[in-house]
């Protein structure tokens, strides 16, 4: 077999009408299919199994529209929204991470490293403890706090020209300040509200219901479309701003839009589940390794994020059952280990 034909066999060219074409290697397709399949398996596991035992036939009954009221409540009201939320939030965080990483051209440029997550926690804690707010208020506070922090970190690190390393250390510094503010806020509350606020800051999918999930599901297609549109100019910008500008990319505009969409993804995730650490860092990197592709692997990153969060939630739910570990703690512990492994390997 000649080199050219072997090359062709690994590449895939899909002709589009009006002379366009989509091209790529086969590997991302395989990677995407496997991840999507695993997501489906987890979806089924989440719906069919649980601490409260319901037989498989009964679950099918419920899904068909029948079943007892109790079974209906457990399957439709409790298990399904939880699995859906895990998949949605995971996909959103995977995309947020992949946008931020291609923006800062640094695999560590994820929302939690650059202080976004700590800032949104500060906002939510302030809303919960000072405003005495509800979980909806906490979501709003999280949005405002996170946005303000992202803005602050970007302004501070861009004063001398944004370089990846500076952005990240500035984020860690701002994060350290805000973390001490968070600890302070928690000491000033009585023990019960302090515990519930602390539980919120861990990031959890426990006791999630459809009203939490529906707004996120509604925002999902819109943001996904925006991300897909941004993927191509971002790939060009990975070759350098000048090259991208020469190719006709309006660099500043794309950068601002990317920041906006990335922040929106993170905000949606935080509003549903609270701050969930390290997922946005790990998902795009793992997706990139699995798909062996450069650039922004949009769909693989989303699927990988969904898979990781669904796995983590499943583990947190079953590991010490009936005690449920908040999913944010599972991802925090595993994500930290993953980052350490990355640092160790890249010597």
């Amino acid at each position: 077999m000649s080199t050219a034909s072997r090359q062709r066999s690994r590449h895939l060219v899909l002709s589009l009408p009006r002379g366009g074409s989509l091209r790529g290697t086969r590997r991302p397709l395989w990677a995407g299919a496997i991840t999507a399949l695993s997501c489906l398996v987890l979806l089924a596991l989440g719906v069919f199994t649980g601490t409260y035992h319901i037989g498989t036939a009964e679950v099918f009954d419920v899904l068909g529209g029948g079943g007892s009221a109790m079974d209906r409540f457990i399957v439709v009201g409790q298990r399904m929204p939880r699995v859906c939320a895990a998949l949605l939030v995971g996909a959103g965080l995977g995309l947020a991470g992949s946008l931020f990483q291609s923006l800062s051209r640094n695999p560590l440029g994820s929302p939690d490293i650059i202080g976004f997550t700590t800032g949104s926690t500060t906002g939510a804690l302030a809303a919960l403890l000072i405003g005495g707010g509800t979980s909806l208020g906490a979501g709003g506070g999280a949005l405002l706090g996170g946005l303000a922090t992202a803005l602050l970190v970007h302004v501070l690190s861009a004063m001398r020209g944004a370089v990846g390393g500076r952005l990240i250390v500035t984020g860690i510094a701002v994060g350290a300040m805000l973390a001490s503010v968070n600890d302070f806020l928690i000491t000033r509350a009585d023990i019960e509200s302090a515990e519930s606020a602390k539980a919120w800051t861990f990031g959890s999918l426990n006791a999630i219901t459809w009203p939490h999930v529906v707004p996120a599901a509604a925002a999902f297609p819109l943001l996904l479309a925006a991300t897909v549109v941004l993927a191509r100019p971002l790939q060009m910008m990975s070759m350098g701003d000048d090259t991208a500008a020469a190719l006709g990319v309006r660099v500043d505009r794309i950068r601002a839009l990317t920041l906006l969409v990335g922040v929106a993804w993170t905000a949606v995730a935080i509003a549903v589940a609270g701050p969930i650490g390290f997922l946005a860092l790990a998902a795009p990197q793992l997706a990139r390794r699995l798909a062996r592709s450069g650039g922004v692997p949009v769909f693989t990153a989303a699927l990988m994020g969904a898979l990781l969060l669904a796995c983590a939630d499943f583990a947190g739910q079953r590991l010490l059952a009936p005690f449920q570990i908040p999913v944010g703690l599972v991802t925090g512990a595993l994500g930290g280990l993953y980052l350490m492994w990355l640092l160790y390997r890249k010597v």
């Binding site: 490293i113 510094a173 701002v174 570990i325 703690l329």
Partner: protein, 349 residues
């Protein structure tokens, strides 16, 4: 008959000796400032006492309200601030010299997270609630976390890799923080003790914390001070310092032992107080240059002064409430970290 030795000029003194005497005087000035701040710390608070009142209460321990406040409430607290501040300052100098990394700070490299995790284990699994009990746990936790972080990044010491140490520390803190979170969720009582310990407060620690931590801090400083010349040699690089006859491994181990004793004791006594170990060495280096011997000696009064100031500011900023010293130091230290990273020249030792 040998020719008579040329007479040494008596005046002016050689510049080296003059500089040394100037630095010795400067050190006493720092000590005086720290002592003054100590008196201010005895007087400041929700019930303010003027300096002459403080002096009177100190001299006549006669059971008046003022002397009770000064002797029983503010004296242990101020002494603890001095002990913790000196410990963290010296630890910062040693750590930056041993790792040859200007961003090395006990809190940033995961010492605090390790100590926090160990303290929560002590509270929740063993029911220990006194500082004198969990000081040992804090030691072990600090030691394990910092060794792991240093081990992850020690294999290269090229410049430009400084940020890796900070990142490995952040990763370690995230992992341990999540484990701490799980434990505090299980145990409501542990959470209640933990949330007041973790803000880094000097209030209500009592004399027990002071008595438990002071010997370890003294031991740590006693190990650190003689290391000065060796750490100066280490700054020349691994090969050069080995060629000069320095046993680099021994120096590293001694340095890390000192850091663990100092940070473990300080963190166990007052909770994690961040950034003192970063700010003090950098401020001193700007004034004194890179000589580690002087940095170590100066770090004792200057570290104490910084924590005293933070504690006093925290007491005065929001009367009648207080803001913990650890929060004040974070707000002083984080901007310093940003400034260091943003400098055009880059970060240097």
């Amino acid at each position: 008959m040998s020719p008579p030795a040329p007479a040494r000029p008596s005046t002016p003194a050689p510049p080296r000796a003059r500089r040394a005497s100037r630095r010795a005087w400067g050190w006493f000035a720092c000590l005086a400032v720290a002592a003054l701040l100590f008196l201010v710390s005895l007087g400041a608070g929700s019930r303010g006492i003027p300096l002459d009142g403080v002096w009177r209460a100190l001299v006549h321990r006669d059971g008046t309200a003022e002397s009770v406040i000064v002797w029983q409430l503010r004296m242990p607290r101020s002494l603890l601030a001095c002990v913790v501040g000196s410990a963290l300052g010296v630890a910062g100098v040693v750590m930056q010299a041993v790792t040859r990394n200007p961003l090395a700070e006990p809190g940033l490299v995961g010492v605090n997270a390790g100590a926090s995790f160990a303290v929560v284990v002590a509270i929740s699994a063993f029911g220990i609630t006194r500082a004198s009990g969990y000081v040992w746990f804090a030691f072990v936790g600090a030691l394990a976390a910092a060794s792991a972080v240093y081990g992850l990044t020690a294999r290269n010491s090229r410049t430009g890799q400084h940020i890796r140490l900070v990142l490995a520390g952040a990763a370690m803190s995230a992992t341990l923080g999540a484990c701490t979170g799980v434990l505090t969720m299980f145990n409501s009582q542990a959470f209640d003790s933990y949330r007041f310990w973790v803000v880094g407060s000097l209030e209500d620690r009592g004399t027990a914390a002071l008595v438990a931590s002071a010997p370890f801090v003294a031991l740590g400083i006693a190990i650190a001070l003689p290391l000065g010349p060796s750490l100066n040699a280490l700054a020349l690089g691994e090969e050069t310092s080995t060629a000069l006859g320095l046993r680099t491994r021994t120096v590293r181990i001694a340095g890390f032992t000192a850091v663990m004793l100092l940070c473990g004791a300080a963190t166990a006594a007052a909770g994690p107080i961040a950034f003192v170990g970063l700010v003090v060495p950098h401020a001193l280096r700007m004034l004194l240059g890179p000589d580690v011997r002087w940095l170590l000696v100066y770090a004792i009064p200057v570290g104490a002064a910084l924590v005293l100031v933070s504690d006093v500011v925290g007491r005065l900023i929001a009367p009648p409430g207080e803001i913990e010293a650890g929060i004040v130091t974070a707000f002083i230290g984080a901007p310093v970290l940003m400034w260091l990273v943003n400098r055009r020249k880059g970060v240097r030792l």
